[in-house]
């Protein structure tokens, strides 16, 4: 279907007319949603958008560059706390604070990228794991960050004019930012930089032989990924309204990885699917006892053998199981499933 005849076709953002139609429909849908949906669904959309942003960011690192990170909750925390503090203590305007938070996070990403130059596979996983844990511990110990108690997000005013107080208002802040950054990521992957990332993933030694500057591109991958995650963290701070260090624990880093794995490694479209599906799953599992049939059955199990108060931990079990099953049975994630379905129906009924 997709024969690329010249270079410009290869780097086009949307490479067919059908895709353009879908793209415009997506924009229309996103614009119409806040006027149609109830508050809960708007909250859900915000949450999904933020997670999509993290997933895209993490996928740039894990899926495209092939560097594992178990410390992305750390970047998320840096972005969240930095944005809130830049606004609260230094009274930056919102957008400046958000970008400053992202840049600070990117700086930390760069710093973490330096040891990553010498590490690979398991060693890198351990180093990033340590980084994520250390960041949360440090934030929890410093009074500036509100210590263990956490910190309140300041009231949000956009351009000094619009006061954003509810989820519906926040929607108009979050969605454009996520949309633009996701498009930017898709674009980035079609440029020299993106191709360098992919070359590093496939074989860093071969990439180096071809003249890809490993030092530059590996640290860049960490920085870009951390920037995305930091921005997402900044948005999350305003969505939650209140952040404390224990939100950004090791489990959150694994959740982020689960988003990427479920969506599919190394595809932006997969990241979007992964972020949306997994967020939906998180929200469903949050009120698991209200689900029809399953909820009652689980309550009975909880009362007999487990504890009733801990029932929300079923979410962890489900997530863990999903990670394991996806890795074992469908390593390409939802995107791989989508591609296979597409190919199957393409020649139907033959």
């Amino acid at each position: 279907m997709d024969i690329k005849r010249d270079y410009y076709e290869d780097i086009q953002l949307l490479d067919s007319k059908v895709l353009w139609v879908w793209f415009l429909m997506l924009i229309g849908g996103l614009l119409a949603l806040p006027f149609l949906a109830s508050n809960y669904y708007i909250y859900m959309a915000n949450y999904m958008a933020i997670n999509v942003l993290v997933t895209v960011g993490l996928n740039i690192l894990v899926g495209y560059t092939g560097q594992i990170s178990l410390g992305h909750a750390g970047f998320f925390a840096i972005g969240a706390f930095a944005t809130v503090l830049f606004m609260g203590k230094l009274s930056f305007p919102f957008l400046v604070a958000l970008i400053a938070g992202g840049v600070l996070s990117a700086l930390f990403g760069f710093i973490l990228g330096l040891p990553a130059l010498r590490l690979e596979g398991p060693y890198l996983a351990i180093a990033t794991l340590g980084f994520g844990m250390a960041i949360t511990q440090l934030i929890g110990r410093w009074e500036l960050f509100g210590g263990r108690m956490g910190i309140q997000a300041p009231p949000l005013r956009l351009l000094g004019l619009f006061s954003v107080s509810n989820d519906r208002g926040l929607y108009f802040v979050i969605i454009p930012i996520v949309f633009l950054l996701t498009m930017a990521a898709r674009n980035l992957m079609k440029t020299k930089v993106g191709r360098a990332f992919i070359a590093i993933r496939d074989s860093d030694i071969a990439a180096e032989t071809m003249g890809v500057n490993l030092v530059y591109y590996k640290t860049l991958a960490f920085a870009v990924s951390a920037f995305y995650t930091g921005i997402a963290g900044g948005l999350m701070a305003f969505m939650l309204g209140f952040i404390n260090p224990s939100t950004f624990n090791f489990i959150l880093s694994i959740y982020f990885l689960a988003f990427v794995i479920v969506g599919g490694l190394g595809t932006i479209f997969g990241s979007i699917m992964g972020g949306i599906v997994m967020t939906w799953l998180i929200l469903m599992l949050d009120k698991i006892q209200d689900l029809p049939y399953l909820g009652e059955a689980l309550m009975t199990v909880s009362e007999r053998w487990m504890s009733v108060t801990g029932i929300h931990n079923v979410a962890s079990i489900v997530f863990g199981l999903i990670i394991v099953l996806i890795v074992v049975f469908e390593p390409l994630g939802l995107y791989g499933f989508w591609i296979r379905t597409k190919i199957y129906w393409k020649t139907w009924p033959f």
Binding site: G130, G310, I323, V324, V328
Partner: protein, 290 residues
């Protein structure tokens, strides 16, 4: 003061050494750091607690029960999930162990997450022995002895038993081991069982010092990693030594520099070691095949 810190460092270092050993046993055979190590130990410790507290068993029975459970858990995870992965690379192996981690953490929190328990233990942490200018509690000494005993057993196992030698062969070259008639899959299951067993011992020695809750092994897991990285992920002796070194450094840092930032030491050590000597202090440098 200094000697006292050293003694405390050795005591906590024993636990780190055990976690590191458990980690390295798996790492050597499957080249994957087992992120579920901590939670496996946590669940086993809770099993011991449950047998003690809810079923009123004696200490011996509960500990044996927990250790038996740990062995079964290790074999179960390896056999049910890890073995099913076709042609896995490092990333997918890491992800599978992370999946285990989440499942076990979820299960542990579901069952026991509600309140923090204190773990009853036959050896007290308050009775102390004078060692010249320093003191050590009975529990410290018991931990040290248990760790040393396990290490001795492991050393003998790898040196003199047929299974131990088969395990070493599998670690060196799995294909060659298979050709020589070693059931590599069974050896893998066995490494998971041993690792889980050692982790469970570490968990049960740690639980009386802290409170028993599902986060019990979160921190020691990172410390165990740090110890393994410090000593070298490919040597058993090195990683055990790494555990003791880490324990001592950490306690000294807590005593002289800052108690508040003590927990960051492990991370600093990981980063420094990985930057300057990635293979660890006691391991030969490894060369990667392209």
């Amino acid at each position: 003061m200094f000697l006292q810190l050293i003694v405390s460092g050795i005591a906590i270092g024993s636990i780190y050494a055990l976690v590191a050993l458990a980690m390295v046993i798996i790492y050597k055979t499957s080249e994957v750091p087992n992120f579920a190590q901590g939670e496996m130990a946590m669940i086993s410790t809770f099993i011991a607690f449950m047998l003690l507290d809810s079923y009123g068993q004696s200490f011996i029975v509960s500990f044996m029960g927990a250790l038996a459970f740990a062995i079964l858990l290790g074999v179960f995870l390896e056999f049910t999930f890890l073995r099913r992965a076709k042609d896995p690379n490092v990333l997918s192996l890491i992800l599978i162990t992370l999946g285990f981690e989440m499942m076990l953490y979820g299960a542990g929190s579901w069952k026991w997450g509600a309140e923090q328990q204190s773990f009853p233990f036959p050896v007290s942490d308050y009775d102390i022995v004078n060692l010249g200018p320093a003191v050590a509690s009975h529990l410290n000494i018991a931990t040290l002895l248990a760790a040393l005993f396990l290490m001795l057993i492991l050393a003998l196992f790898f040196k003199y038993t047929k299974v131990g030698i088969a395990m070493k062969a599998t670690q060196q070259n799995m294909v060659a081991a298979r050709i020589n008639g070693i059931r590599a899959n069974r050896i893998l299951s066995l490494t998971w069982a041993m690792s889980s067993f050692i982790g469970a011992v570490a968990g049960m020695m740690l639980a009386p010092i802290t409170t028993l809750d599902p986060n019990l092994m979160m921190d020691p897991l990172l410390k165990g990693f740090a110890a393994a990285v410090l000593g070298g992920m490919t040597t058993l002796v090195g990683s055990a030594l790494g555990g003791y070194i880490l324990g001592i450094i950490e306690t000294l840092f807590g005593g002289y520099v800052s108690l508040q930032f003590k927990s960051v030491v492990a991370f600093m050590i990981i980063v420094l070691v990985l930057c300057f000597k990635p293979s660890g202090l006691f391991a030969k440098h490894y060369v990667r095949r392209v």
